[in-house]
Each structure stands twice: as structure tokens, then as C-alpha cells.
Symmetry: C2
Subunit: 185 residues, 2 copies
Amino acid sequence: MATAEFRITIHMVSSVDGIIAKKDNSISWFETSHKYDKGVTGQDPVEFLKTIDCYVMGSRTYELAVELSKSYGWAYGHKPTIVLTSRNLPTAGPQIEFYSGELSKLVNERLKPNYKNVWVVGGSSLTKNFIQQKLADEIRLSMLPIILGEGLPFFDHIGLEQVLHLKDTTAYKNGMVELRYQIIK
Amino acid sequence: MATAEFRITIHMVSSVDGIIAKKDNSISWFETSHKYDKGVTGQDPVEFLKTIDCYVMGSRTYELAVELSKSYGWAYGHKPTIVLTSRNLPTAGPQIEFYSGELSKLVNERLKPNYKNVWVVGGSSLTKNFIQQKLADEIRLSMLPIILGEGLPFFDHIGLEQVLHLKDTTAYKNGMVELRYQIIK
């Protein structure tokens, strides 16, 4: 990806009703039991994750990731992970960096000079800020074939309208549908 | 469709953030400006709508449809349309029938003997009742390439978990993605 342009992608894995985390934080709903015969098998996740070179997340998403790491390990490997917070949170490892300043400054001074493929992985208010300030380039929505009915929504009435441009759709054998949208600026 | 089995489909046209109606009820967001080159052109809507032989909707969805009909005409043609309500609402035409009894009775005694392809077109609480009582067979989600940010959500924390089975995905030239799910009973 050395020649690729700098790009910030907002990513979510959600249910059909837009929920990204259950109230009890269990993640067994990621495993689907039905097969979608017309789907493709997933891209090699190791190869795919290699192309991401920095994660950005809000503080509650970070706390959830720390909580889940106790059972499943830290989900974001050794990649630099920047947590937006003004709180004093315990660190999950040397790759974690806490940031409390302006988002545009983070993007222009910290991310752009150092990375190519930055992923924002939640939550809802951070997503809103990235979209509102026209700082994100893409939304990638991985939708699992389930209705959860309650929990933490990704788009929680973010209160702004944003036109998107469909770039790609992929349906996987496990019934997950991945939708890629460009954010029109 | 004479040989098809009886089927109840829950249908929604929504934004990426799951909103089905804006606060001002405007519908210009249905028109997209960008082209998705890999998409297919839509099925002939007249031919497609012919296969639906009955609509079912909640009272607020009906009131919204009546409101919109003043500008755009009645969206459901001459097809029988059953409105679930205990209120005394003005009728929009001879094809409208009001119903206030049990949902299972409606399905088994009124819909099953008379129709094959019934579409439930909202809103959220009616959808919830159909799913909760295992009365619906499919969900068809037509997602437009826009974030609306606020408005009427289709899945409004419906409070129950429901496993789905992806049946088909279609991306259209206008950037709309249609997802068909079977409701696992």
C-alpha cells in the first residue's frame, strides 16, 4: 500500500438493526450458523489487517476492547492505536496512545504524516465528529445476518445528513454483507 | 406467482443509519445523484409491484402515506391495503381496510386464504409484533446511500433477538443496495 493515498475509513460490524455491541458485551452473534451459497469466502484476514496501519477509537470503545481482551485477546494487534479521551485511562500496551486535542490537528499533524490507511472503529460520537468535520473518507459497514433488538447503536441519531457514494458490496459465505461507501465532501 | 407459497415480507427503504422518514416527511433523499457502475438497473417496477397482492401497515405509516399522497399520489395503487389500528381514521379509498384484532387471526383467517405475497411496510412496532409472533417470513431492506442523522427509525430497539438467513443481495446503479433475509423461525 506504499503508493496509496492517505485515507480514513470508519468501520463498523453491526447487526441488521445497526447495533454494534450487546448489553452484556457478548460477541457470540459474530458467529453465524447459516450459509449463503452465493457468497464469497473472506479475504485472508491476516493479509487484510496488514494494510491497516493505525486505529483510532473513542474512550468507551477502548474500554470495551480492553474488557473483551480479557477473554479474546487484544483485537487490534501491535498496530498503533490512538484513543480519543480526556480521561486518565490505564494503557493496554505500548501501542496505545491517548489524545485529547482537536480532531483536525490529530488528522493533519499526527495521522497524515505517518500513516496511509487509518481505521476509525467507533463509537458513535467519534464517528459523528469525523463526518461533521469532513475528516473521514470512507465508511465500511459489515452487516451480520441478525437483529439484536437492543444494545449500543453505531449511528445514534447523529443529527447530520451526509450523502454517500456506494463503492463496493461483498456478500460472504457466512451471510455477512460488506458495504463500502465514499463520504462525499 | 400463482404457484408460490404464502409469504409475508417486511419491507423497508432506509438510509444507511436505518431511518425511514425524515422529520419533515420530505422524500427527495430517495433520489441519488451518484452512479454505482457495477450496479444493475432496477427490475421493471410495474412488473415487480404486480407480484405483491396485499399491503399491511401500521396507523402512523398509513397517515404518512396519506400525507405524502397529496403531493405524490397514493403509493400502493389499487392493491388491498390493511391498516392496523384501533383508531377511527379517514379512508384513502375503497382498497383500504382497517383492522384492530389479533395479528395471528389476521394472518391465518384474512391473509392466508386470500393472498400469496403480502408486504408489511412499517412501522417499527408492527414489524416487532410480526417478528415476535413469528408471523413474517422475510425482511427486504432497500438501503439508500445516505446518512440522514435523525428521523423515524425502522428498527427502534425492538427488544428481541432474531437470527436471519441472507437470501440475496442486489446493488443498483443508483447506489441502492437491496438485502433479502429469511426470518429463521
